[in-house]
Amino acid sequence: MMLSEFAYSCQSLEHVQRRTFLQIAGAGGLSLLTPVASALARRHDDRKVESAKSLIVLWLEGAPSQLETFDPHPGTAIAAGSKARRTNVEGIRLGEGFEQLADQMDSVSIVRALTSKEGDHARAMYNIKTGFRPDPTLIHPAIGSVICHQTISADSQVIDIPRHISILPGSAPGRGGYLGDRFDAFKIGDPRDPVPDIESPVDRQRQLQRIADLNVVDRSFRSRYQNHSAMRDKLGHHNLDAALTMMSSEQLDAFNVTTVPVALRNEYGDTPFGRGCLAAVRLIHAGVRCVEVTLGGWDTHINNHELQAGRIGILDPAFAAMIRELKSRKLLDSTIVVCGGEFGRTPFMNAAGGRDHWPHGFSIAMAGGGIQGGRVIGETNPDPKPDAAAKLANLKDAHPVEDIHATILQAMNIDLQQELDTPVGRPMKINEGKPIQQLLDA
């Protein structure tokens, strides 16, 4: 009487057959592919064995201005007085506030002609965090959730603490979407404060008594459903042990930045974001797969230059110190760092001295995990054509935001061609972009 979820979904026979065919083809050693396809497939398999293992996202919520950060055009009309500074890579300049990051530029690359079709904060955040445009029929997983989903078997016995963490979560921390709640980011505030929900509110003795009492009540409940074969295995506290293990795990120390030497803490900056970056490195070292650290306040519709400079003053020391520490801990080769916001800002000033939303050519910085340093991909025109039709013509080597996702997944050796199943069995592409090969090729 209750009809199957699968009866009417997009999980068609043809979809299944096509996927099954591909799986069989895979199992058959690609023998069904043409010689050219086989060669391409071998090239894919011959990629370097070492791949990135973790991801840190420095999330600049509100949308930074590319002209004051990673794509300055000093001396032009669109700079509106903004200046730039040289870096340790000849020919690459950053906004003038990036004093420390400038010295790490040989480890960092910039994609300067990113585009999206979303000019609204919420939609653009969804777009750039998931690699897909908002779709009313389902919620796509964030990149961190995809990575945790793809590495779940490797991590199951290794780590007690959450593998996907959002520090200082903004308005859209990473969600598991159709992959499920368990891939949601675990949210924490300023790492100076205790980790939420980890400390028992009562002493050890009372906690043990509470757990013992819980067993009494649960035993009574389960006994009433002993003959419910449809539900028997679902009832109970399947995550109680995992939660209690986490509460007493030594890996929790990774959240604690108060014991880090003051000198090192100061390198990151005495700010919540700086401490978030400091914790992120420790969490990655402990085995966490994806950490997102949010720095908000970039939505500068008024007084752009001053407000952007204030944010850069917080971002620069933290970003640079993170790169330095990842290097010194020999974690940079296995950790991708991505820094950016949901779109850029207009190459012209408004009447309030601000810059408005601009998804037609903005920047993201990337480093580590196989991403080559010291490179700039794409170019924006210092004298952009204002008419709508020509906006993309202002760009050279433009990339849509999903290409950033494809690049990350490829660097992590995650199969870009695979499809993931939604709860109703609808097969969804893991990604719709193309890797930016110039960032990956040695």
Partner: protein, 555 residues
């Protein structure tokens, strides 16, 4: 000491005494609940004679009998109250409500409670939020032009007044004006895709997909990009199947091509150009006239206002997908599972469970009366069955409604239940504003941390470690239990016996009294304690029951 000092001392003393008196009254208050006006004692037999309820139960039982499956026994009254309260208010029943229920004749209790809830603002507020999720989603939507809260509040007003569902939807689809003054138009402004290159006009494509899912219970979004070439989207009948076409989707989208958004808000430009789209097999944009995707005989093509024409067709009493969609959704809200799953993907060509068709017929005959639909479902033996049985319960029993299906509480139900269970009085519209504000704030904070499923209303969700940590150590439970103005202190203060104290905590949290083993276990623990130690032990008992498996399930 001067007379002025005396006066000050007396004033201070009187203020202190007044405060103590106010707290005492609060702690020991035993207010009665207002009797629902819709309730008439002794009407159970009348409803039971309702042929629809009887036919609904008979159809389900016949199906089970045909498969050789037994049905379970009736659930207890308190279990029914718990189900109804969770479904209609998103919280557990309060101890105050359960005590009031004891004064009602047993045969009238379900009726009384349903009437009580339907007249309670909590019910329309909760159902409006549940309905709004499919109508406008949960996202914040376009800045400035969209006010979700206004839309939900308006919807709540309509549900509270029990406005016929067809009228309500007709207004959503046809209303004009500014999103603040005419809250229904937020349906349109929500579908504006802000784009620096485009006019800020509601997107016909989004509206077509949303209208189909929300009001017809059909996901036809696949057709946005291509024809149905795999046989999952039949827009004909079972006898005469008709594969859905990309043209069908865009012909539906075409109904929204006249909608404009301007300084006067949402309006129609009846002179606007015909909707244009480049279909997959075409090499150019082409005009696509408005045409409904099925039941075309119900469409009045002479109507010039396209939104009005569409609304008339969608809500037509013979357009069964419209009534079927909301009946299935209300069933799903009450049972946790729809008669057809997913609830917004009901095939046009069936097969339809007979119970659904009976309810649909009855809903249309009763002028799309949502309160009547809720009362009918609540009155059925199917709803009132226990989730346990004295035989082995298999998946077949569950899918055939031989037992009440067990479903995990939704995040807002967990939050609402934690908050309500720690207050013996009902936190409704008559509760103190501070109680309601606290509930609002704590509920939002809890759901944010627990994870909001968004539009995934009836998915099968499993608990996560993060959620378990929140239950074990989170601030919502800690603060509710730690606040001496809430139930812990009150139970400690006024319970005539330890047994009564334990029983009250069980009633507040699990909506049942403890069994002998449980009662003895917890009374023994409380026995040697006094004062703060006993209060802390009651607090621990609360924590235990809130963390129990039973608390987290609707059963």
């Amino acid at each position: 000491m001067t007379s002025k000092d005396w006066f000050k001392d007396i004033l201070l003393l009187s203020v202190c005494l007044s405060a103590i008196a106010a707290v005492s009254v609060y702690l020991t208050a035993t207010d009665r609940i207002k009797q629902p006006t819709m309730f008439k004692a002794g009407t159970k037999s009348k409803m039971a004679a309702n042929t629809v309820v009887a036919a609904l139960d008979a159809s389900i039982e016949a199906n089970l009998a045909q498969r050789g499956l037994q049905t379970s026994y009736p659930a207890s009254e308190t279990v029914l109250m718990r189900r109804l309260s969770l479904a209609l208010t998103g919280t557990l029943p309060s101890v105050e409500e359960l005590r009031e229920l004891e004064t009602i004749e047993p045969r009238d209790r379900v009726h009384w409670f349903v009437a009580h809830l339907l007249e309670d603002r909590r019910c329309s507020d909760y159902l409006s939020e549940r309905f709004a999720r499919v109508i406008v989603g949960v996202d914040e939507g376009p800045f400035l032009v969209y006010r979700r809260r206004r839309f939900v509040a308006w919807l709540s007003d309509q549900l509270y007044a029990n406005r016929p569902y067809d009228e309500l939807v007709r207004q959503i689809l046809t209303d004009d004006g500014i999103w603040t003054d005419s809250p229904a138009v937020n349906y349109y402004t929500h579908n504006i895709i802000p784009d620096v290159e485009q006019d800020s006009k509601p997107d016909p494509i989004r509206l077509a997909g949303r209208t189909s899912r929300a009001f017809l219970g059909m996901r036809i979004d696949c057709l946005q990009c291509h024809d149905d070439f795999i046989g999952t989207m039949n827009l004909g009948s079972a006898e005469e199947p008709l594969a859905g076409l990309q043209l069908d989707f865009h012909s539906l989208a075409s109904f929204f091509s006249q909608v404009e958004n301007s300084l006067i808000g949402i309006s129609d430009d009846l002179r606007s150009d015909t909707y244009r789209y480049q279909l997959l097999e075409s090499d150019q944009l082409e005009p696509i006239p408005a045409r409904v995707p099925f039941n075309r005989e119900l469409d009045d093509e002479n109507e010039n206002n396209l939104r009005l024409r569409l609304a008339n067709w969608v809500t037509h009493r013979d357009n069964r997908p419209f009534a079927r969609s909301i009946v299935n959704r209300v069933w799903a809200i009450m049972f946790g599972v729809g008669l057809i799953q997913p609830v917004d993907n009901i095939p046009l060509d069936g097969p339809f469970p007979p119970a659904l068709e009976l309810l649909v017929d009855d809903f249309v005959v009763h002028q799309f009366d949502l309160h009547h639909l809720i009362r009918t479902i609540a009155d059925s033996d199917t709803f009132q069955r226990d989730s346990r049985a004295d035989f082995e319960i298999t998946d077949e029993h569950v899918s055939g409604w031989a037992v009440f299906p067990m479903t995990r509480l939704r995040p807002e139900q967990v939050a609402g239940s934690i908050i309500q269970s720690t207050s013996l009085k009902t936190i409704d519209s008559t509760a103190h504003v501070l109680s309601r504000l606290a509930m609002f704030g704590q509920q939002n904070e809890f759901v944010d941390r627990f994870g909001d499923p968004g539009e995934e209303e009836f998915g099968d969700r499993t608990e996560t470690v993060t959620q378990r940590l929140l239950m074990l150590n989170g601030s919502t439970i800690r603060d509710r239990l730690g606040n001496d103005l809430n139930s812990v202190a009150r139970i400690n203060l006024i319970s005539p016996s330890l047994e009564k104290a334990v029983e009250t905590v069980f009633l507040a949290t699990l909506t049942r009294v403890p069994d002998d083993e449980e009662l003895n276990h917890f009374v023994e623990q409380l026995q040697p304690l006094t004062g703060d130690d006993r209060r802390d032990r009651i607090r621990d008992l609360y924590w235990t029951l809130i963390n129990s498996t039973e608390f987290s399930w609707n059963h």
